[in-house]
Structures are given as structure tokens and as C-alpha cells.
């Protein structure tokens, strides 16, 4: 049975600036990675500081290993020793890399001899073996963050808090460090709360995902659930949904609904068990779920319920993918590779056929949520 490592209930914190953090319920399971994702200023780092007992909430409860850790009479220092945090800045001290890594152990009155195995593992995996005698000031940003991660991970905390650890690093170093860090997290299976505003990072590493915006957790659940079924337009956009269209449910049969798209002759089919006929809805489609066909190549029959003819209006280069924007009576966006662009001869002005499975079309329930706030 999976046990909870951290549970937050009814937490509130108000600041003089007017910012208000309110977390009704959030749970982290043992040996799982919870990714807290949200835009800048949404309250992610504040929540991490409160969990790490560096700030106190105005009200609410935090349970760590089933013990209440908020309120008076709590030994904060002892509890902090059960966790360790890596912030956005590496925040290394003016001493050798080796001494920096051992700093947390020193605070705990522990010696390196008891952590030799993990020390060797970390300096190897984080590629900092040859930096141990150096002063952190002479290191690059990426190297400094590697040291900061080693310093946190050597403590083998019950809960690891990573507050956008890759945000301040250049693109090339970031990808390399991301791979190394995620390898370590997977290998050690450490209970982790990982803060980011990068959905790619979230998509790779998360077991659970909590989307935070303006101090509120807007959606919390298994990663796939949040990515596939965002609860609101904001979340949909944040987790990478590119196509959002409004329409009215005209028919529902065997859990498949037909939606008449506003301002278009087209209908979209979506798998939904809960939408009632006549309901005004917003439909979300992920770009990777939109398949494109060259109409001259005769695509043949398909099991996808949605097929739209359209004209390509724009192709943008996103690095690995190309973003193809089409006018199908509504704006539809697809991500394809350069190979597909060449193979299908895609270019602006060209007519294409697109298809989407009904199970890949998600009807948002988020408008009511937005209205509540």
C-alpha cells in the first residue's frame, strides 16, 4: 500500500502585497514525484517554503509522515532535517565544492564515512568528481546547480524539494542536467516535490501533477489525467493544448458526443460520459493528437471519427517539432516532424486532411471552475 509522505489541508497564507495562497488539499505519496507546475508568481515557491517550514501558514494543516507539522510546539529544525531543498539559485557557500556537498551532513552532526556510497554515486552521476577542490565561484551556473543537487541528495531526505532547479541554466546545460537529475530521481525513487513552469519537464518526470495559478491549485491528479483531461482553459493552455474551440453539444450516444462548433460548419466528436445535450462547451485538442494526410496520397479509411479538410496557414519551427496551423473552419494545430513536412510536402496554402480520434478530444469542465474563483 502506498503511504502519504505529505498532506496539506486547507492551507492559507496572505501577504501584505495582496498575494493569497490557498491550498485546499494536496497529497504527495511516498517514492513518487509530484510536479507543481504554474506560471511565474503563481505561488509555487511560496508553497515550497511553507512545506520546508521556512515560512508559517496563517491557517491550515500540513501532515508529514502522518504527523502534524504546523502550529506551535513543532521542532522545525528536526523536521527540516527530514527534508532537503534545492532552490532556483544554487546558493553555494564560499568554500570548496567538497565542503559544500558535506554541509548538510555537518549540520546533522554526521560524517562523510556514513554516506560514502551515495557521495561517490552522486559525484559520478552529476559529473562533479573533478570539481571537488574548486571554489563554487569559479564554476558555471550548471556546475553550481549540480553541486547544489549533490548537497541536497546526499542527505537522502524523506522528502526532496526541488524549486525550479533548472530554471537559471543555459539551454544546453539544462537538458544534460535534466537527464542526469531525472536518472537519479528514478534510480533512488525518492519522494519529491518538483517545481517547474516547464511542461516538458513535468511530462517527463511527474507521477502526479498539480497545476497552480494565482495561489490556487487548479487541478491535481495523475500526470496523464491532467495532461489528457485538463479541467479549465488555463490548464489546457498550460499543459500544451493548442486547439481550443467552443461549441454546443447537439447529440450524445454511447458516450460519444457530437459538438457543433461555433462559427463553423464542422462538427467534432468527443468521448464524454457527462456532457448533456444543448450544453455550451469548450473542446480541447492536443497538437500531437492531430494527424495530417496529403489528400493526393489517398489516406484511405480510418477509425478516427473526426476528419477535417483544411488549408495550412502557417508553419512554425519549434526545434524538434514543426507547428502546423490550419484553417478547417476553426483554427486547428498539429505538431509534426520535419520528416513529415517533407514527406507530405506541407507548406502554407496547401490543402490537407486532418484526423483526430474522438477519445483524443476533451470536453473541458473548466469554465465552471473558473467562474467559481
Amino acid at each position: 500500500m502506498v503511504s502519504k509522505i505529505l498532506e496539506i489541508i486547507g492551507l492559507e497564507k496572505k501577504y501584505n502585497s495582496g498575494f493569497y495562497l490557498k491550498v485546499d488539499h494536496l497529497v504527495t505519496e511516498e517514492n513518487r514525484i509530484l510536479v507543481l507546475i504554474g506560471p511565474n508568481g503563481s505561488g509555487k515557491s511560496t508553497l515550497i517554503r511553507i512545506i520546508n517550514l521556512l515560512e508559517s501558514p496563517d491557517s491550515g494543516s500540513i501532515y508529514f509522515n502522518d504527523k502534524l507539522i504546523t502550529g506551535n510546539g513543532v521542532d522545525k529544525i528536526m523536521l527540516r532535517k527530514e527534508m532537503s531543498t534545492v532552490f532556483q539559485e544554487p546558493l553555494l557557500f564560499n568554500m570548496s565544492v567538497y565542503n559544500n556537498i558535506l554541509m548538510g551532513l555537518e549540520f546533522r552532526g554526521k560524517k562523510i564515512s556514513g554516506s560514502k556510497e551515495i557521495f561517490d554515486y552522486l559525484i559520478d552521476k552529476l559529473k562533479i568528481k573533478n570539481l571537488l577542490k574548486r571554489n563554487p565561484r569559479s564554476l558555471s551556473g550548471g556546475e553550481q546547480q549540480r553541486v547544489a543537487l549533490a548537497r541536497a541528495l546526499i542527505l537522502e531526505p524523506k522528502l526532496l524539494l526541488l524549486d525550479e532547479p533548472l530554471a537559471n541554466i543555459d539551454q544546453l546545460s539544462r537538458e544534460e542536467l535534466r537527464n542526469d537529475l531525472f536518472d537519479i530521481l528514478r534510480a533512488t525513487g525518492r519522494s519529491t516535490i518538483y517545481v517547474t513552469h516547464d511542461r516538458n519537464e513535468a511530462m517527463i518526470i511527474a507521477d502526479f501533477l498539480a497545476v497552480i495559478n494565482e495561489g490556487r491549485i487548479e487541478q491535481f491528479g495523475l500526470k496523464d489525467e491532467v495532461f489528457r483531461k485538463p479541467a479549465s482553459e488555463f490548464i489546457a493552455k498550460f499543459v500544451g493544448v493548442e486547439t481550443l474551440v467552443e461549441g454546443i453539444v447537439t447529440e450524445c450516444k454511447d458516450n460519444v458526443c457530437r459538438i457543433k462548433i461555433d462559427g463553423s460548419k464542422n462538427d467534432i466528436f468527443a468521448v464524454s460520459a457527462s456532457s448533456g445535450q444543448g450544453t455550451k462547451v469548450t473542446v480541447a485538442i492536443r497538437p500531437e493528437d492531430v494527424i495530417l494526410y496529403n489528400i493526393e496520397m489517398n489516406p484511405g479509411a480510418s477509425s478516427a471519427m473526426n476528419s477535417f479538410m483544411g488549408e495550412i496557414t502557417e508553419i512554425q519551427d519549434l526545434g524538434i517539432f514543426k507547428k502546423v496551423e490550419m484553417d478547417c473552419g476553426f483554427k486547428l494545430i498539429s505538431f509534426v516532424t520535419q520528416n513529415s513536412i517533407e514527406r507530405l510536402g506541407l507548406e502554407p496554402g496547401k490543402k490537407v486532411l486532418s484526423s483526430i480520434k474522438a477519445s483524443s478530444v476533451h470536453i473541458l469542465a473548466g469554465r465552471a471552475l473558473n467562474a467559481d474563483r
Binding site: N94, G104, R108
Partner: protein, 239 residues
């Protein structure tokens, strides 16, 4: 010009002749100023740390007081100590007026605010997030203070240099409370003043050169400690 040149020549003869009186004055100067700086560090560094790292209501007011203390005229410190230690003063009973102890007390009054003020400024320059980082790594209050003092050690050494420079060159207060008694309370600055009054410019120049050399040696030592981070010996010396 001849007077100055003659004075410099005589000064070097005096310095290298091993004059016992001069040697005694040098040793007393180092003893009084050294002890005064050590005591001032014991007061000034913790005060500077506590004020710099904590937020409280009257913080600005306290910092203003310390900054004022940094500019405390030595004669004011001398007068205050004289009033306290005078035979009929509140502490007259202990009978330490016109002794090196009285001179140390006066110099502590001068150096403590300087060391506190520079330490305060030094720790305020330390990234405040380092405190959060230390706490998040499980540090207790003492460990946090210690680690932040280590972070501020380079500018904190500047505090010691400033404190030492302030007291070794000071003349008003030590003259008042020490009395410039030959063989007992005569230090480099008071001896210089006396020799100028007597027209012994060669001795006065010698004493000033010695004072400058002492200040230079102490400061070069502190500078080497301060600058040794990430530098080779060669770099340390020539930078």
C-alpha cells in the same frame, strides 16, 4: 627641506640602532592597540552580526547610533573614559587612570563601533537567501550565524583593519587617559606629538615611519588573509 632630509636620515639611524626606549614604545603601542582591537572584535562582530541578520522595529535607529559611533571623535572617547576613571569619578576607585588599561578602554570605545558598523555592512551584503538555504539544510540558529559570518569573513577582515587603523593612529584619547608617561604609557603617537613640541623632528619622523611600517605590516597580513581565496601565493603578493 634640509630639516626633513636630516630628519629622515636620523630616523633610519634611530630605527636600526635598537634604541631601547623606542623598542619599548613600539611594544606598548602594539600591546595596547592589539588588545583593544581583540576586545573590540569580541563586542563589535557579534553586535554587527545580530543587527545585520535580524529584522526588528528600531533597526534603523540602532544602525544610525552605530554609524555615529564610527565617527566618534577620539577626544570625546578620551573625555568620557577620563570622567569615568578620574579619582572622583564613578569608577575612580579602581585606580587605572594613566595606565595602559585606561588607554585600552578608550581605544575599545573608538574601535568597537567601527568593527560593528563594518561587520553589519558586510553581513548585509551576504545574499539573504543563503540564510534560507542553511536553514533548509537543517542548520540551527548558531550554525546559521557561523556560516553567514564565514560568508562575510572577507569584508569582516576589513572591519578589523579599519578598527586597528583607527586606534593605532589615534592620539587624543590615549594622551588624555594615558598621560604619555615615559616608560609607562608612552606610545608612538603621543611620543611623536611630544617630540614635535620639543623640536626633535628626527625622532618624530622616526616614530612616524615606524608607525607607518607597523600599520603596513598588520594590514598586509590581513590583506593576504582577505585575498587568499582562489589565488596563488604569487597572485596574492602581487595583486
Amino acid at each position: 627641506m634640509e630639516l626633513i632630509w636630516q630628519g629622515i636620515k636620523s630616523a633610519f639611524i634611530l630605527i636600526f640602532s635598537g634604541n631601547k626606549e623606542i623598542l619599548g614604545i613600539i611594544l606598548l603601542t602594539l600591546k595596547v592597540s592589539g588588545i583593544a582591537v581583540i576586545i573590540s572584535m569580541a563586542f563589535g562582530i557579534p553586535i554587527g552580526l545580530l543587527i545585520g541578520l535580524n529584522n526588528f522595529k528600531s533597526k534603523r535607529f540602532v544602525i544610525t547610533i552605530i554609524n555615529t559611533g564610527m565617527g566618534l571623535p577620539p577626544v570625546a572617547a578620551g573625555l568620557f573614559v577620563s570622567l569615568m576613571l578620574w579619582r572622583s569619578g564613578p569608577l575612580g576607585i579602581i585606580g587605572i587612570m594613566y595606565t595602559p588599561t585606561a588607554m585600552i578602554i578608550a581605544q575599545v570605545l573608538i574601535a568597537s563601533p567601527i568593527i560593528a558598523g563594518v561587520t553589519l555592512a558586510a553581513v548585509q551584503q551576504v545574499n539573504p537567501k543563503l540564510k534560507l538555504q542553511a536553514l533548509s539544510l537543517g542548520a540551527n540558529r548558531v550554525q546559521v550565524l557561523w556560516i553567514l559570518l564565514k560568508e562575510a569573513k572577507l569584508p569582516a577582515l576589513a572591519a578589523i583593519m579599519a578598527g586597528f587603523g583607527g586606534v593605532i593612529s589615534e592620539v587624543g584619547a590615549v594622551m588624555m587617559v594615558g598621560g604619555n608617561i615615559k616608560g609607562q604609557t608612552r606610545v608612538l603617537t603621543t611620543a611623536t606629538v611630544q617630540n614635535v613640541r620639543m623640536g626633535n623632528f628626527d625622532v618624530a619622523i622616526a616614530l612616524v615611519i615606524i608607525l607607518l611600517i607597523l600599520a603596513f605590516i598588520v594590514n598586509i597580513f590581513l590583506t593576504l588573509i582577505q585575498q587568499r581565496e582562489n589565488m596563488t601565493w604569487y597572485q596574492r603578493f602581487w595583486k
